[in-house]
């Protein structure tokens, strides 16, 4: 009889091993190039460590490609287990009822307690956390250290200093500007970044559109004055040529651009350094973030959802956030990262001022807001900003126009 039990035990053990398959989940992501390679390495490590979950990474194009595919898949209920999405598309997917609120998972509070609360709010829709941020980059001020040293200047910490430095660093030869103090793209996010320093930049407050506000007007005038006085240069595209030819001293840009900008000037002895966006009347370092959220979909089974949650926790753990930040320059969102000795060594060794990517994260705000109709609002602000910088409209006129456009877009969305 004993032999029989042992036999049964061995057979069932063998069967368990044979049938113990990992739960496979599909993750649609939009990380290409170096970002994709880093995510591959992280996921391979997770798959190796996890005894019961296997994540299939599926690259689905970046930005709008991923978003349009998600919307199409939501219609056909062919969504993967999880995906990355920008806040506005996350809101659209939430309104379709396909997203699992992250706060439903058992140990959500443990995970949430390690993420900066302001950053956690990026995924908050209708007062529930539907998405957790993963790849969020901070907008910063990039500057050329040699130009500052030659002029005997320190990098600016306030907007007033920024304006003063831009004036000093602007160089004219034979009446023609050969170097501008500041360069920025006339796109909505730049305006939002500066408006935030004036206490604005948040265009939807308590259910009301607040584009036409005093703070936003001040920000618009601040940038316009710099351009009008000839100390700042603005254009639509990237500032890569301006870096290689050293024709701007400062640029407002996203932290994840740093490796790109560095490769533009690879081999030149004058590098690039980063500092937080100088503080304005808002009084403290107020970074604006841009990036995607992680979403888990309820079209998959409960077991798959739990598996996706395990992977999400792994992605947001301190060590993975450390590795991700070091290799991509996205901000580490876990509050423990800045306390890790490896992070401190990395910051000490960095010649690029990488500590700026963690500055003020407890006071951060997402550039994109999680409203399903946010793209219309964003495009109205972009147009208004461009019109002001090109002197087609006065700052006040442009903000009133953008406010009207956004109100129309909101009405149209809810009429549908």
């Amino acid at each position: 009889m004993r032999r029989f039990y042992i036999f049964i035990f061995i057979i069932s053990l063998a069967a368990m091993i044979a049938f113990a398959q990992k739960i496979e989940i599909n993750f649609w992501e939009g990380m290409s190039g170096n970002l994709g390679t880093t995510l591959d390495q992280i996921t391979a490590m997770f798959n190796e460590q996890s005894t019961d979950v296997h994540v299939n990474l599926l690259y689905v194009g970046n930005g709008s490609d991923l978003d349009s595919k998600l919307i199409a898949a939501a219609e056909t209920k062919t969504l993967p287990t999880m995906a990355q999405a920008y806040p506005t598309w996350a809101a659209a997917l939430v309104s379709k009822g396909v997203v699992v609120p992250m706060d439903e998972f058992s140990d959500f509070n443990n995970v949430a307690s390690e993420i900066y609360p302001a950053v956690l709010d990026i995924g908050k829709i209708n007062s529930r956390i539907y998405g957790l941020p993963f790849n969020q980059q901070s907008y910063l001020l990039f500057y050329r250290p040699f130009m500052f040293q030659e002029a005997g200047l320190k990098p600016p910490t306030t907007l007033d200093e920024l304006a003063a430095d831009a004036k000093i660093l602007t160089v004219k030869e034979n009446g023609k500007v050969v170097r501008y103090g500041l360069g920025f793209r006339d796109q909505s996010w730049i305006f939002t970044v500066i408006a935030k320093q004036f206490g604005g930049g948040e265009y939807m407050k308590n259910g009301k559109i607040t584009i036409d506000s005093t703070a936003n007007l001040k920000a618009m005038n601040f940038l316009l004055d710099l351009v009008k006085n000839g100390y700042a240069y603005t254009k639509q595209g990237y500032f890569d040529n301006e870096l290689t030819t050293s024709s701007v001293a400062m640029i407002i840009g996203g932290a994840a651009n740093l490796p790109f900008d560095l490769s533009d000037i690879a081999g030149q002895s004058d590098g690039i350094k980063m500092v937080p966006i100088p503080v304005g009347p808002a009084g403290k370092i107020s970074p604006v973030l841009a990036g995607e959220l992680l979403l888990i979909f309820n079209t998959s089974s409960k077991v798959e959802q739990e598996a996706a949650w395990e992977y999400t926790k792994f992605l947001l753990s301190p060590s993975i956030q450390l590795y991700w930040a070091i290799h991509t320059n996205y901000s580490p969102l876990n509050v423990k990262v800045p306390t890790l000795p490896e992070w401190k060594t990395y910051v000490d060794q960095s010649q690029y001022g990488v500590s700026a990517i963690t500055s003020g994260l407890d006071n951060a705000m997402s550039y994109a807001q999680n409203l399903p109709w946010w793209t219309s609002l964003d495009s109205a602000i972009g147009t208004a900003f461009e019109d002001v910088m090109n002197s087609y409209k006065s700052p006040q006129e442009a903000l009133i126009w953008a406010q009207q456009q956004a109100e129309q877009a909101e009405n149209m969305f809810y009429q549908k």
């Binding site: 199409a72 056909t76 490796p259 000490d348």
Partner: protein
């Protein structure tokens, strides 16, 4: 006279043709040229044709790492496993040996395509002092001189608070001269907030009562690269001595003396430091890369060089019993040399990186399979449909034809979601069916072929009928051979369309195994911009099959358009 005129006209024709050819081929040539460049060359202005990758040697911009923090191993050079390992053991990152000098090569590994220092060839590294000669190091370090200078500088007083604090911190290292020297220069010149940082030191000095009258003389020292240099400190000393003579106020005098003493202290120590370095390097250090290894082989070097390796953007050289602190104030020049095969490898580096950054082998197979299958199906179906619209008569023929033409007017992105729903309901997502079947007939090619069939006289069709040929036989044995250029044109158009198709493939497939070359190209475009050199390299090898196809069939392609009446 007439002949002359004709010649002139021909001359202008040729000039026009050459200009057109330049406009048409120029971008292609630029694309291929760009694919060999480094990224900074791609973006340099004014643009140039050449690339450093084709040169047998190059100078690299490099700095000596002057701080202890810079000496320790960089977390960014660790693999994920190694980083997690170091986190779990809670060890601080290991410091390189004090006898190891770290040289940072700017942009060495690169981010977009090739870096400035490909891992091949040899490196000639010269450590150079401020006079431009090869650097020196001590062979007989005098501990008694060290003790003497330490006691001398410790007795200097009064000092400014920062310096006083630093000297008191340094006292812990008096038994370890090298550590003392490293921390001394860290405090005064190279640390995160050094005493002789231009702006801070001069601003503090100008804040001293009575010093504002020296504003003009001192403010110029604020401008300059790096911390204040020895020669500048001497000039500042002179200004301070002058100020000391002019002032009568004892408290101001005391304050100025503090700064003067700070400088004297530094210069005394610096003199001791320089005096210790008696032996000069007799030759530069020549190192060779070892394939698939971080170690560097010493080809030729002064006897004190023991070993060398690279990690990340840094080159580490270990000396025999000589600390790196003796080279803190020196500069470094790095020259890389390559033999013919290494130049070739540098030249095609972007191609290798581009090919390795995505599974291009799979993409190639899929692209060829899908494009060929689509083209074959198109020829079969389009020919039959075009023939029906051209020669057969049936009710509603022209209306159906117009309906097919009308599909050309709708941008296909508008229909993408609807198409996705159809493909999904057929269960074709992630299959070759989704990539081939919906594209197995093309309205434009049908139109093209119909125009060509229209040009075949109906009499020919009638004659064939009278001779007993069926419509099927007439189509394949008479009409198709007569319209061969148009059919090949249609086939080429279909092939090109399928080869370049991006959004459709991206939306209808989820796995790498089902994707085609244009999706692979997307790998080089990320939110922050494009990796131009690799993108151009990938575009070049993606384009090759299409160019070959065009070269083979170009005479049909051109005559096909003429026959269909499209110019």
């Amino acid at each position: 006279m007439k002949k002359q005129k004709k010649k002139i006209i021909y001359f202008f024709y040729y000039v026009a043709a050459v200009i057109l050819a330049i406009f048409a081929i120029g971008p292609l040539v630029w694309m291929v040229d760009t694919s060999f460049k480094t990224n900074s060359e791609v973006l340099s202005y004014p643009p140039s044709w050449g690339t450093i990758n084709a040169m047998p040697s190059r100078n690299l911009t490099a700095d000596i790492v002057k701080t202890r923090a810079g000496q320790s191993s960089n977390p960014s050079a660790l693999s994920l496993e190694a980083l997690l390992g170091s986190l779990s053991t809670a060890q601080t990152t290991t410091l390189a040996s004090p006898d190891t000098i770290a040289i940072h090569v700017l942009g060495a590994s690169g981010y977009r395509g090739t870096g400035t220092m490909p891992r091949r060839g040899t490196l000639t590294i010269s450590l150079i002092n401020n006079e431009g000669d090869l650097a020196s190091y001590p062979t007989k370090f005098s501990t008694s001189d060290f003790n003497k200078v330490v006691s001398e500088i410790s007795s200097i007083s009064p000092l400014s608070n920062d310096v006083k604090q630093s000297i008191s911190n340094l006292s812990q290292y008096t038994s370890d001269p090298q550590e003392y020297i490293l921390n001394f220069y860290d405090a005064f010149l190279y640390g995160s907030n050094p005493i002789f940082s231009r702006i801070n030191f001069i601003s503090n000095l100008l804040n001293v009562d009575g010093m504002s009258s020296f504003q003009d003389q001192l403010a110029i020292f604020k401008k300059g690269i790096g911390p204040l240099k020895g020669i500048e400190l001497k000039e500042i000393s002179k200004i301070l001595e002058n100020a000391l003579n002019l002032t009568t106020n004892p408290s101001v005098k005391a304050e100025i003396s503090k700064y003067l003493n700070d400088i004297t202290l530094y210069l005394d120590f610096d003199q001791f430091y320089k005096a210790q370095k008696q032996t000069k390097f007799d030759q530069p250090i020549e190192l060779a890369f070892i394939p698939k290894s971080n170690q560097l082989k010493i080809v030729k070097a002064p006897s004190i060089v023991e070993s060398a390796y690279t990690s990340g953007d840094q080159i580490y050289i270990t000396f025999n019993n000589t600390s790196f602190v003796w080279f803190l104030n020196d500069n470094v020049s790095v020259r890389a040399n390559y033999n013919f095969w290494e130049v070739l490898a540098n030249f095609f580096d972007n191609y290798v990186s581009a090919w390795n950054s995505a599974p291009f082998g799979i993409y190639y197979f899929n692209s060829i399979f899908v494009a060929v299958a689509t083209t074959v199906l198109n020829i079969i179906f389009d020919v039959m449909m075009a023939f029906a619209f051209s020669k057969l008569t049936f009710p509603g023929r022209d209306k159906i034809f117009m309906a097919i033409l009308a599909t050309m007017m709708i941008p296909y992105t508008v229909l993408l979601v609807a198409n996705y729903l159809i493909i999904h309901s057929l269960g074709w997502i992630n299959t070759y069916y989704a990539l081939i079947i919906p594209w197995s007939a093309t309205a434009f090619v049908i139109f093209l072929m119909r125009q060509s069939f229209n040009s075949i006289p109906n009499d020919l069709y009638d004659a064939a009928k009278i001779d007993g040929a069926s419509s099927w036989r007439f189509l394949w044995t008479i009409a198709v051979p007569l319209s061969m250029p148009v059919i090949i044109t249609g086939a080429l158009l279909t092939f090109l369309g399928s080869w370049n198709s991006f959004l459709w493939v991206l939306i209808m497939t989820d796995t790498t195994n089902m994707r085609t070359l244009p999706v692979g190209l997307q790998n080089f475009i990320i939110n922050s911009g494009a990796i131009f050199n690799q993108l151009m390299a990938a575009a070049t090898f993606t384009m090759i099959p299409v160019v070959i196809a065009f070269l083979f069939f170009q005479k049909y392609f051109v005559s096909g358009f003429f026959r269909s009446g499209i110019k």
